[in-house]
């Protein structure tokens, strides 16, 4: 009787650990295909055949529709270039050289990938509409307060992430490493 009890206990504990592992694996952007460059993370393999089971489970959980490898590549940032989590109470400057792509867009979203409503109706920029410096570089300000130039308003209290999509990028899917120098930096300014 004690032996059966031990078996059941072992099975239960095992099942709990297994489910815990699964939940942890799907929560922390784990996946064999994840590639990071500075604050940005992308899943290039999701754009073609041969998506790994973890990525497939993660896509099923989030409901995301990834871009095809010929279409482009999407990069997500949940932290700034200093590694600190993005906070709606802080101002940020996203700047850098022009990413190697035919077009790119930068969008502010909730961590679940929803767009944030704001009075100006602007949640991002496309590469065509931003104002640039003479050398072609750009800077986009993220702030709760209005800023001159390229400005994406942040919501008062809602946490946010950044989604940078490079359409028809020269980053090919076979690349397993990206040079962070080719992607914009996210610099934190003042926090209120």
């Amino acid at each position: 009787m004690i032996l059966i009890g031990k078996f059941i206990l072992a099975a239960l504990v095992g099942a709990l650990i297994g489910l815990g592992l699964t939940s942890a694996a799907l929560q922390n952007d784990f996946g064999f295909g994840a590639v990071t460059a500075g604050p940005w993370t992308a899943w290039p393999r999701n754009g073609g055949r041969g998506v790994d089971p973890y990525a497939r489970a993660m896509l099923a959980k989030s409901g995301e529709i990834p871009l095809g490898s010929s279409e482009g590549l999407s990069f997500i940032a949940r932290a700034d270039s200093g590694g600190r989590r993005l906070e709606p109470g802080c101002d940020y400057i996203v700047s850098g050289p022009t990413p190697q792509a035919r077009y790119w867009t930068l969008t502010v979203m909730t961590p679940q990938g929803k767009l944030l409503a704001n009075p100006s109706g602007r949640s991002g920029f496309t590469s065509s509409e931003i104002l640039r410096a003479a050398d072609g570089s750009f800077a986009i300000a993220l702030s709760r307060r209005a800023r001159p130039g390229n400005w994406i308003p942040l919501a008062e209290n809602d946490p946010f992430i950044l989604d940078l999509r490079l359409y028809e990028s020269e980053f090919s899917t076979s690349m397993l490493a990206f040079d962070a120098a080719n992607l914009p930096t996210i610099a934190r300014e003042v926090c209120r």
């Binding site: 650990i17 297994g18 279409e71 496309t126």
Partner: protein
């Protein structure tokens, strides 16, 4: 029982727990996509008619059909079913405006993707078929000297969907980008004999 025996017995139990944990973990990961039941095909079938190009609503706060959608992109979808006949996806594209297509299985996995740059003479022409249909088609046209003008694409399953993305480089181009999605048609071919 001496200490070694106890130690070995404990180790065995731990091993058992670890095995169960790994098994449960693997089953959960593989089974999750099916269990969640919100695969893109079933979500899209609410928004689109099968066998034709349907416009999807623009991604706006509180009204996205999928998370991580780009608000600058107009989307259209064609839910195809190759059981009876191949499906042709074709249309004129504007050389300067970005338009992309992705061919997907019901779970949203991509088996082919392309952009307007792959268009020939300003036209996209893709014939989507099963491998049996391709064989029948090639047997039919063996005598023809002219090579096929269209891109023949074998779908891994009879059902799936084609997603069309048209980028509006400026917010004022939103309507125009919807028109470019509309310019791509998707229709079943006449059934092969």
């Amino acid at each position: 029982m001496n200490r070694l025996d106890r130690f070995l017995a404990g180790l065995l139990w731990l091993l058992g727990v670890a095995l169960v944990a790994v098994a449960v973990h693997l089953i959960a990961v593989f089974d999750l996509p099916r269990r969640l039941g919100n695969d893109p095909m079933s979500r899209l079938s609410v928004l689109a008619k099968p066998g034709e190009m349907s416009q999807l609503p623009l991604a706006r706060p509180g009204a996205e059909w999928a998370p991580f959608s780009d608000p600058a992109v107009a989307q259209g979808v064609c839910l195809y079913d190759l059981t009876r006949a191949p499906v042709r996806v074709s249309g004129e594209v504007d050389a300067d405006r970005m338009l992309t297509l992705s061919f997907r299985t019901p779970s949203g996995e991509i088996f082919y993707s392309m952009t307007d740059r792959a268009a020939q003479h300003g036209k996209i022409d893709v014939l989507l078929l099963t491998s049996e249909q391709l064989e029948a088609l090639e047997a039919d046209s063996e005598d023809d000297d002219e090579p096929a003008q269209e891109l023949r694409l074998i779908a891994p399953a009879a059902k799936g969907f084609v997603l069309v993305n048209a980028l509006a480089a400026f917010p004022s181009e939103a309507e125009e980008s919807r028109q470019r999605v509309k310019a791509i048609t998707c229709a079943p071919e006449a059934p092969l004999d």
